[in-house]
Amino acid sequence: MSILLDERSRVLVLGITGRQARTHLTYMRKYGTHVVAGVAPGRGGQEVEGIGVYETVRGAVAEHVVDIAVLFVPGSGARDAALEAIDSRIPLVVVLAEGVPHHDTALLLREARRRGVRLVGPNSQGMISPGKAKLGGTGGAFPERMFLRGPVGIVSRSGGMGGEIGSALTRLGIGQSTYVSIGGDLLIGSAFADLLPLYEQDPETHCVVLFGEPGTGHEEQAAELIRQKRITKPLVAFVCGEALEKLPRGMSFGHTSSIIARGLGSPVRKKQLLREAGALVAERFTDIPQLVRQTLR
């Protein structure tokens, strides 16, 4: 098992004719991702690697069953493409674009909620269920270099550091069930509290590593789930960004975002709440593999 994605998941690629999409389409399929169709407005009827291209998502889903839509679309076009996928009620929509305007993200998150669609991103680097399938740039051309099938879930605000965690664990022979890059924006579709319950239900996952960042209340919410015993599997947590608390305020958080936070957002406080709830908090990134190993004994 794994969460969200495996070798049976039927994937629709939006923006499939773009240069990046073509590159990653090759890598994804080589790894085992089951891509059923693509969409590129204005280019319907073409083929990319033998995959049929449709003008619209509606056209694609009329002929294929689709479990996941992955968007290779720039930030300026993400709202339109995501709304199209949400409108067709594709159960999982993954938005890779960075730089999606906040007003656009707010709108598509609201639409996703209304339609019961799970949205990952924006600014996600994708996800991987090692040995089964992957989405987006995660793992690149040779995912086996960084990821190995096994018992550890990874969920990270940073795509780059999620890869570091996978790579460090893999070097020690510790495999992963699913790694999800949830994106580092203020507004995201799937936060820790949305995904931890899935890992809790997944028999293959024995432990989860969480990589958190300053701002928002998502790490605090994860701590609350553990406190309420809704998450009982071991959680290894790392929260970066203590340095920002020592820098001039304007550099990190704006005026009102700190108000909304109502005391949330500080890495020190996040770590304290996670520790009190029973998570294993790594003070140094380098400590993460050792803490994971402890939980697997």
Binding site: E98, H103, M161, G163, L187, C240, R284
Partner: protein, 403 residues
């Protein structure tokens, strides 16, 4: 996020039909006197900088007549407020305050959309209010795709204790302010205080509007409002930061984010948002402040890396350089390394005297290792060395004890 100057913010409010205290931006004491005379004599003179805290800093003056306004302008112009030079002052009509409210529109990570914040306790520092009387701040999640319905504005105002004509006028102002927020791709619209004056009118003597830079592709009008060299969020750009912006502008195939810190001595060019924070944390833990932070998005990067490395190493007082970042998933890392190494060669850097640590992992690492070997003394680490351990190496080599 870019904070607009106050007169630009007030322009947006006025255009949406929010009553504002009449204002004029001027750059000389004479113009300040004229503006005050046009406003009826007495006026408020404020330093026009993209930062808060002006009242506490003594940069807001209540003037009785045009002569006093000229004097206040003379005192403020040419000074610095916080980090910002004062090049203009705002001359504004006085407001006779009867009642003060707080209101702001922004985004909330937890309700995952826009929110209205409102309090009948306006005028005081918001942080103080939220800390001391959190129940006095009302929060209402809003629909991102529609106007603020008048009845919702009335509900919020009523819950804060407003009634009668005041409630109706405040609700009307809130609806207009949400229009400003939505139509301008704002990240923040804040009016503190929103005022009921002695005549019973609801008006905004001041306003903070911060726009979302990620939406600049659909706002050509921002070019006239935003000074690209203006601010990095808390102070104006330094000459080196300006130079990096110039380098970034040579090619839109990738984007550089760069900051420098006066007190640091080790140049950090560690790319990736998360890895930048992890390594910053670790450097502080080891008692060092980085001299720079640097990030570049994927794209055409070799020439930019070359120019950036040359510019950064031109900063006086550096004791070492750490370059690299988190393990790359798919982007070949040798392209960037080629640019960095070319700069190091041209600058004749001898890494046995000026310590240089590389931490490079991902596709192209073997080529990167060979390139680094062409500069004598570079300490090269791959994914077997954690980012923190690489930081510890440069601190050991170039830290030279406590900063």
């Amino acid at each position: 996020m870019t904070r607009l100057l106050e007169h630009h913010s007030l322009d947006l409010l006025a255009r949406a039909g929010v009553a504002v205290a009449p204002y004029r931006a001027v750059a000389s004491p004479e113009a300040a006197a004229q503006a005050a005379a046009a406003l009826g004599g007495g006026a408020v003179v404020k330093a026009l900088v993209p930062a808060g805290g002006r009242g506490k800093a003594g940069a807001v003056a209540l003037c009785q007549d045009p002569a006093e306004a000229a004097e206040a302008a003379r005192r403020l112009l040419g000074t610095r407020l916080g980090h910002f030079p004062v090049r203009q002052v705002l001359v504004q009509a006085k407001v006779r305050i009867a009642e003060e409210f707080f209101c702001a529109f922004t985004f909330d990570s937890m309700s995952r959309g826009p929110v209205l914040l409102f309090s009948s306790r306006g005028g005081i520092e918001v942080e103080d209010l939220v800390r001391d009387e959190p129940e006095a701040m009302l929060t209402r999640p809003l629909d991102p795709d529609a106007e603020l319905p008048a009845h919702v504005a009335r509900e919020v105002g009523h819950a804060a204790g407003l009634q009668g004509e005041t409630l109706l006028a405040v609700a009307d102002a809130l609806c207009r302010l949400y229009r400003v927020f939505r139509e301008n791709d704002a990240f923040l619209v804040e009016v503190n205080p929103l005022v009921r004056d002695a005549e019973g009118r609801i008006l905004a003597p001041s306003a903070v509007v911060t726009v979302d830079d990620q939406a600049d592709f659909r706002h050509p009008e921002w070019k006239a409002l935003i000074d690209p060299a203006g601010s990095n969020g808390w102070r104006p750009l330094t000459p080196l930061e300006l130079r990096l912006r110039e380098i970034d502008a040579t090619d839109d195939g990738s984007a550089i984010r760069f900051n420098e810190f006066a007190e640091g001595r080790i140049a950090c060019m560690l790319t990736g948002g998360g890895s930048g924070l992890v390594t910053f944390d670790h450097m502080l833990r080891l008692g060092q402040m980085p001299a720079t932070t640097f990030d570049i998005t994927p794209g055409r990067v070799e020439e930019k890396m070359y120019l950036a490395t040359k510019a950064i190493l031109g900063r006086p007082g550096l004791t070492g350089l750490i370059y690299g970042g988190n393990i790359s998933n798919f982007i070949p890392i040798d392209v960037k390394v080629r640019g960095v190494v070319r700069a190091l060669q041209e600058l004749r850097v001898d890494a046995r005297k000026f310590p240089v640590v590389f931490r490079c992992a991902g596709p192209g690492v073997e080529v990167a290792r060979e390139l680094a070997a062409t500069v004598a003394g570079i300490e090269f680490h791959d994914e077997r060395t954690s980012l923190e351990d690489a930081v510890a190496r440069i601190v050991a080599l170039a830290g030279g004890g406590a900063p």
